[in-house]
């Protein structure tokens, strides 16, 4: 597997410094996640050659050196696609002019067909429009298409959806998924929105204050309770499920580690894989199987870890076959139920938690 090897040291304003030594896999999508000011954009700019790191930094892309002491491969030779937060379309060119800008400069390399990219991003009707007549969401779609058409070996996306309202964000996300599914270009996707990246990221690198806190598989990281992620209000486990069928009540049945999970009807083929996200705050625990509950999804699980901090709710990591659920319950409940590691209990998943679930192909 080809890797992007980084040994970076970069000083910014106000005493901020980014320091990391990581090998990033160049396959699928790696989310770069962290609060604002954690160095996410600085990292991307160093990779793209738009910012000079300190002299002792090195960047190697597969077998090619991009950065070492006294040498820096210029941006225009790195063949890195960069989707900026605010699009940065050329205002003097229409949409197709912006796309041509990229395809004319990529040289004799194999590239995605322009028609193909235009259709993935739904730009057919926008080609003759000028950038200042486009909505923010449309501009971002053009920016993504433009980056793809430069035939990048690596695509960097810097919070491409951050400036969009929630409706156009959903729409843009839909187009972005098409790209991720079909384009087969490794991507680094910067975001501070965990729900967004958990929909499609394969791996996640968590940054905070210029340092790497975690780096690993998205599914694995999201189900741990010893990370900063688990402490967040939105903490949620991500699980892989397969569509088993539909019922007469407008629900779909997902297979999850030999159990069934009922969610609102998914328009998809039987056997397709879905990633679902179950927030820790929507999982509650019962000692015995409730027989007369309105909650549909009650799964037998084993408690494998308990994180009880003073003054905060108790976090549980629950094993379900090979996968894990997270549950956040009050300290009072934990004490009343006398929960301990190794206990076999039932996890109740509120159906409401699943309404907003994301049906993304794994």
């Amino acid at each position: 597997m080809t890797m992007l090897e980084l040994k970076l040291h970069c000083r910014g304003a106000d005493g901020f410094s980014l320091a990391l030594e990581e090998s990033l896999s160049l396959e699928g999508v790696t989310a770069i996640y962290g609060p604002s000011g954690s160095g996410k954009t600085t990292l991307l700019e160093c990779i793209a050659g738009l910012r000079k790191p300190e002299g002792d930094s090195t960047i190697n892309f597969a077998a090619q050196c991009w950065q070492r002491r006294g040498y820096s491969l210029p941006s225009w030779q790195r063949r890195v696609g960069y989707v900026f937060q605010n699009g940065r379309l050329f205002p003097h060119l229409d949409v197709s002019g912006n796309l041509d800008f990229a395809s004319r400069r990529r040289g004799p390399v194999q590239a995605l067909a322009q028609d193909q990219v235009v259709s993935w991003l739904g730009l057919e009707h926008l080609l003759q429009r000028m950038p200042d007549t486009l909505s923010a969401g449309q501009r971002q779609r053009v920016a993504i298409a433009r980056a793809l058409l430069s035939a990048p070996r690596l695509l960097l996306l810097d919070e491409p959806l951050a400036n969009l309202d929630s409706a156009s964000r959903q729409q843009c996300l839909h187009y972005l998924r098409q790209v991720i599914e079909h384009a087969k270009i490794p991507m680094l996707y910067v975001s501070h929105d965990i729900e967004e990246v958990s929909q499609f990221a394969d791996r996640m690198l968590i940054l905070s204050e210029g340092r790497v806190r975690e780096h690993g598989s998205m599914l694995e990281l999201s189900s741990r309770i010893d990370t900063r992620l688990a402490q967040e209000e939105k903490a949620a486990a991500i699980l892989l499920t397969q569509l088993r069928g539909q019922d007469d009540y407008g629900l779909s049945e997902l297979a999850l580690e030999g159990q069934s999970l009922w969610v609102n009807q998914l328009k998809a083929q039987k056997g397709e894989y879905f990633r679902i996200r179950i927030p820790a705050r929507d999982v509650s625990i019962c000692r015995t199987l409730p027989v007369d509950s309105s909650i549909l999804n009650i799964l037998p699980v084993t408690i494998v870890e308990i994180e009880a901090r003073h003054d905060s709710p108790v976090l549980l990591r629950l094993a379900l076959g090979q996968q894990y659920l997270l549950a956040r319950i009050t300290r009072k409940s934990a004490a009343t139920l006398k929960l301990a590691v190794g206990d076999r209990v039932y996890a109740q998943i509120k159906s409401a938690a699943l309404l907003s679930e994301i049906a993304s192909q794994a």
Partner: protein
């Protein structure tokens, strides 16, 4: 209009045209350099470029005369290369005009180049555009209007030049006798009717040029539209 006057008009247009072409060629890289540079050297160059705005033209003309005179380094080099004298020639007028009108071309271009966001150049770089390509395909098209402004101002200012020309060009018909100098001649010899003719022509020309320029400026900014 007399043949001498038509000669002066022709000479004026030739001088202003040549000067404008040279100014755009020289001023573009200079303005680009200034727009992307910080520091003492850039500030010094910027100040030098702006000097003709405040310096009396006679001061500029005086030093240029010393510089281009037959005995000077440049003057004698020119004499050896071409066999003719540089001072009091059309070529000397072109050199003087380029320096005299430089700020009128460099300043609007520099302002336009500074307005092109660095972000767009970064985007162009990640799409594979080298620096000159970035300039040609992003900066130039975004500064098109400013080129029109810069060239018009440079041209108009050269047409209105007098002090520098008198110092380094003198008053040789067909060689250095441009409109403003011819006008001065008429006034000195009390030929006010002829002087009026040339003066009115210059007023009309300047007004027309500036009017067209400002009107197209307002249109492109959408003022009153």
């Amino acid at each position: 209009m007399s043949a001498a006057e038509l000669d002066a008009i022709y000479l004026t247009l030739l001088l202003a045209g040549t000067t404008t072409v040279l100014l755009v060629l020289l001023g573009t890289p200079l303005a680009w350099w200034l727009s992307r540079r910080e520091g003492t050297l850039a500030a010094l160059i910027e100040a030098l470029v702006a000097m003709p705005l405040i310096l009396p033209p006679t001061v500029l003309g005086f030093y240029l005369l010393l510089l281009l005179a037959p005995g000077s380094f440049i003057g004698s080099l020119w004499q050896q290369a071409t066999g003719s004298q540089l001072a009091f020639s059309f070529q000397a007028l072109v050199i003087g005009s380029v320096i005299y009108s430089l700020p009128f071309v460099v300043q609007p271009l520099q302002a336009a180049f500074s307005r092109v966001p660095q972000e767009l150049l970064q985007a162009a770089a990640t799409l594979g555009a080298k620096p000159f390509d970035q300039f040609r395909s992003v900066v130039l098209p975004l500064s098109r209007r400013s080129f029109l402004v810069a060239a018009s101002l440079g041209f108009a200012h050269t047409v209105g030049e007098f002090g520098v020309i008198l110092m380094i060009g003198g008053n040789i018909p067909g060689e250095t006798r441009v409109l403003s100098v011819a006008l001065f001649d008429y006034v000195e010899s009390l030929q006010f009717a002829e002087a009026h003719r040339l003066a009115a022509l210059l007023v009309a020309f300047s007004l027309a040029l500036l009017f067209l320029l400002y009107r197209s400026n307002r249109r492109s900014l959408g003022i009153g539209a």
